[in-house]
């Protein structure tokens, strides 16, 4: 091993010790130029992070009382806010094009599974009982454009586009007014928009790591809630609640870049 190292050092020394000719003029040593990183190409990768949502449900009290007793039982309007939090894990595929002036444009598709969930108790004035309002988000996906500016292998970017969220809602409670337990259930695929930004750092020719923040807006929409115990008995009991929701996500991603045809 030591012998081999000596041989290598000798070869290196002989290559450096090139003879200086009399005709040579003093010249500035040629400085090797690092290749400029290009963001042109496609990439695929994975990300992980955390999310926090805000879901304002109106009106779970009316849902329970008017559905299980009679319409008009409930007076006033109740809005219950839940703030689901949890992990966000998924993947993305995208392609970018870098202009000569270092501007970068691209398109990206992302999809994530999430564990975001939360619950909140709300009083039922008619009986003095409570109902448990649960909300969770198990899916986030988006198709966005992204624009950015490249500082060689660091890209600062913003992205925006359309998004979809997969949501589930439950409103449940114990024996209600002598009619047994209740369990309203509903689900939604909610379409909205997303805007965000981040920094992408290409730490090798093929790999980059990014940190990104995204804000999702899913507006306000109705959710049809079906009572499960009555369905099992052949009776249809259902009602509508409105849910307004937003989601914020911070995530770290790793992408593998593929440079056009070949590698």
């Amino acid at each position: 091993m030591k012998k081999a190292l000596l041989v290598q050092m000798a070869v290196l020394a002989s290559s450096l010790a090139t003879p200086v000719l009399a005709a040579d003029l003093p010249m500035k040593a040629e400085v090797p130029v690092a290749p400029v990183f290009s963001w042109t190409g496609c990439y695929l990768g994975a990300h992980a992070g955390g999310g926090r949502g805000t879901k304002d449900m109106t009106d779970p009290v009316l849902l329970v009382q008017d559905s299980l007793i009679a319409p008009g039982t409930t007076t006033g309007v109740t809005t219950v806010t839940t703030t689901p939090t949890g992990a966000v894990i998924g993947g993305e595929i995208g392609c970018d094009y870098q202009f000569a002036g270092n501007a970068v444009i691209g398109i990206e598709g992302t999809a994530s599974g999430t564990t975001m969930k939360a619950s909140s108790l709300v009083g039922l004035p008619f009986t003095g009982q409570t109902a448990l309002v649960q909300a969770n988000n198990d899916f986030l996906a988006s198709v966005t454009g992204r624009i950015g500016y490249a500082f060689n292998n660091v890209l600062v970017y913003a992205r925006g586009g359309v998004a979809v969220a997969g949501d589930k809602y439950d409103v449940s409670g114990g024996d209600f007014n002598g009619g047994g337990p209740f369990h309203f259930q509903g689900a939604d695929n909610r379409y909205g928009w997303v805007a965000g930004g981040g920094v992408d750092w290409a730490f090798t020719r093929h790999w980059s790591m990014n940190v990104e923040y995204d804000y999702y807006g899913f507006g306000n929409g109705p959710i049809l809630m079906t009572e499960q115990f009555s369905s099992a008995n052949g009776v249809v009991i259902n009602g509508v609640v409105n849910v307004k929701q937003t989601v914020q996500v911070v995530k770290v991603g790793f992408n593998f870049h593929i440079w056009g045809s070949g590698w």
Partner: protein, 524 residues
């Protein structure tokens, strides 16, 4: 060859008679096989390539096979003329592209070829048959009340399906994979008067393909017209061409699946465009419309076999990245569609009505898939995974109380489908293929759709289990006697059901449905 079949027969003990019949058929036909689809001898005649160039084990595609399909089934190179209108100029242009893509380097050396115009043209037609023996852990015929003749309570041998194909080029830029299939009738009584078709049009994909160059972009682009969302896909991770490639049609549970997993196969027609950019990025958008009731019936499809009729045009989309380096090929992709379905008013046809409800059920499917392939000197390793998430907004079913159990359904449901698979194909000729797969379906509990459990609570569609298959393909890489006219595949498949919804499982014990399926698949 006879010695091999003798050994097979000897190993089957009490089922020796059956094995002898199967082996005899194999011996008589000499054959090739293919799944309800590809690996057609007509493709081999056209390209001059052995089946193993395009297939790890048919219909599973190699990188070359995927590009053959993307190029519209029009690639030539065989001893026969590609199509009646082909010219050498066009063939050379196509060959040049293939060389650029680098995939012909892996092909074995070939004898000097004739000029295209001097070749004889043979219509690219093929046939296939699957003969299968099915054994279930319990005698499901007895459990389900007894099947009609000619089936037994268990241990059935059925010739099904039997298919005819057009598989190959029509012009230099247009080609087709079109299948007409005979299916043996299923056990039990007909669900409706149109449920007893035996001949039907099957997977069909007609496409125009060409190549173009836009600056730094090399593009294969094309138009596909087909009858089944995902049948046009070139990766075996999407439903139409996913494992298992052959299944028993005698018994077995009828698990709920997502709509994109074949619910509208042969009930729709779609036209779409696709592009494969820089041998890397695949993009596709296709729209589907329901065929008319009488048109479906004329084509041998039971219209009531679909959940209803599609309202408007249903979009299907697909994006995939396929980087490749050395002998490795990776694909990561996504696909999906949205289907607005008007359910049938009377699926029994008792009122002679073909009407549909004005409301729709909306199924939004999003799938994610990945595939890794490694080509060894004499083997292929393929790992695949797919996940489909379906959101169901059941406005029509909920409003009209259409749940099969008679109980009210939920207004919205979710259904998920997961498949994880590994496949190892060893050998050139005399290729042996080992495949294992885990499958899992799960979703929302719904009394109307899935019934009630013993405690009166809504059941879920949850089911999961494992599949294992060993297949023998006698002719994989070299050009054996009979090539390019015949091929075959013999498979032994076992399905283990760990969990099943009792209302779809024939029995309360999911293991009763565990199925052994020995099949021989012939193509010529």
């Amino acid at each position: 060859m006879l010695g091999y079949f003798s050994r097979i027969v000897a190993r089957f003990g009490k089922h020796r008679g059956l094995a002898a019949i199967v082996a005899g058929v194999i011996g008589l036909l000499t054959i090739d096989f293919s799944s309800p689809a590809q690996a057609l001898p007509s493709f081999a005649r056209q390209t001059g390539q052995p089946c193993g160039t395009c297939h790890t084990d048919f219909p599973a595609l190699t990188p070359y096979g995927r590009r053959f399909k993307l190029l519209g089934y029009t690639t030539g190179g065989g001893e026969f003329r590609t199509n009646p209108f082909s010219s050498q100029v066009a063939r050379d242009a196509r060959a040049e592209y293939e060389k650029m893509m680098g995939y012909v380097k892996a092909l074995p050396p070939q004898a000097p070829k004739k000029v295209e115009e001097d070749k004889e043209w043979v219509p690219p037609v093929s046939m296939m048959a699957v003969v299968g023996y099915t054994h279930t852990q319990a005698d499901l015929g007895i459990v389900t009340g007894g099947p009609p003749d000619p089936y037994s309570q268990n241990n059935n041998v059925v010739l099904s399906p039997f298919s005819g194909f057009w598989g190959g080029a029509i012009t230099d830029n247009i080609g087709a994979f079109a299948q007409v299939t005979y299916n043996a009738i299923g056990p039990g009584t007909a669900a409706d008067p149109f449920d007893r078709h035996t001949w039907t049009w099957d997977n069909t994909d007609v496409r125009y393909a060409n190549i173009a160059h836009f600056g730094p972009l090399d593009v294969i682009y094309g138009i596909t017209a087909n009858n089944n969302p995902t049948v046009q896909d070139v990766w075996n991770t999407t439903p139409a061409w996913a494992f298992p490639y052959a299944v028993s049609n005698v018994f077995g549970p009828q698990n709920p699946g997502t709509v994109i997993e074949g619910a509208f196969a042969a009930h729709v027609a779609g036209v779409g465009g696709y592009a494969f950019i820089n041998d890397l990025l695949y993009l596709e958008l296709t729209g589907y419309k329901t065929l008319g009731f009488s048109t479906q019936n004329s084509l041998g499809t039971d219209p009531f076999g679909a959940p209803g009729q599609l309202g408007g045009v249903s979009p299907y989309w697909r994006v995939a990245l396929e980087p490749h380096w050395g002998r490795n090929t990776l694909m990561v992709g996504a696909f999906g569609g949205q289907f607005n379905v008007h359910p049938w008013v009377d699926t029994s046809f008792a009122t002679f009505s073909t009407a549909v409800f004005p409301q729709t059920d909306r199924f939004t499917d999003i799938g994610f898939d990945t595939q890794y392939q490694y080509q060894g000197d004499n083997w292929w390793l393929t790992l695949r995974g797919s996940y489909i998430r379906e959101f169901q907004r059941l406005d029509a079913t909920f409003t009209n109380n259409l749940g099969p159990s008679g109980l009210p359904t939920n207004a919205t449901d979710q259904l998920n489908s997961l498949k994880l698979q590994a496949s190892f194909a060893y050998g050139a000729d005399n290729r042996v293929v080992f495949t294992g797969q885990y499958f899992n379906n799960w979703g929302t509990a719904d009394a109307g759709l899935y019934g009630l459990d013993a405690n009166g609570l809504p059941l879920t569609p949850n089911s999961n289990g494992w599949m294992a298959e060993i297949a023998y393909i006698p002719f994989g890489a070299s050009k054996m006697v009979g090539w390019p006219w015949f091929n075959a595949r013999i498979g032994l498949q076992y399905t283990y059901y760990n969990k099943l919804n009792v209302n779809f499982a024939n029995t309360s014990n999911p293991h009763d449905n565990n199925t052994l399926f020995l099949h021989a698949w012939f193509a010529m």
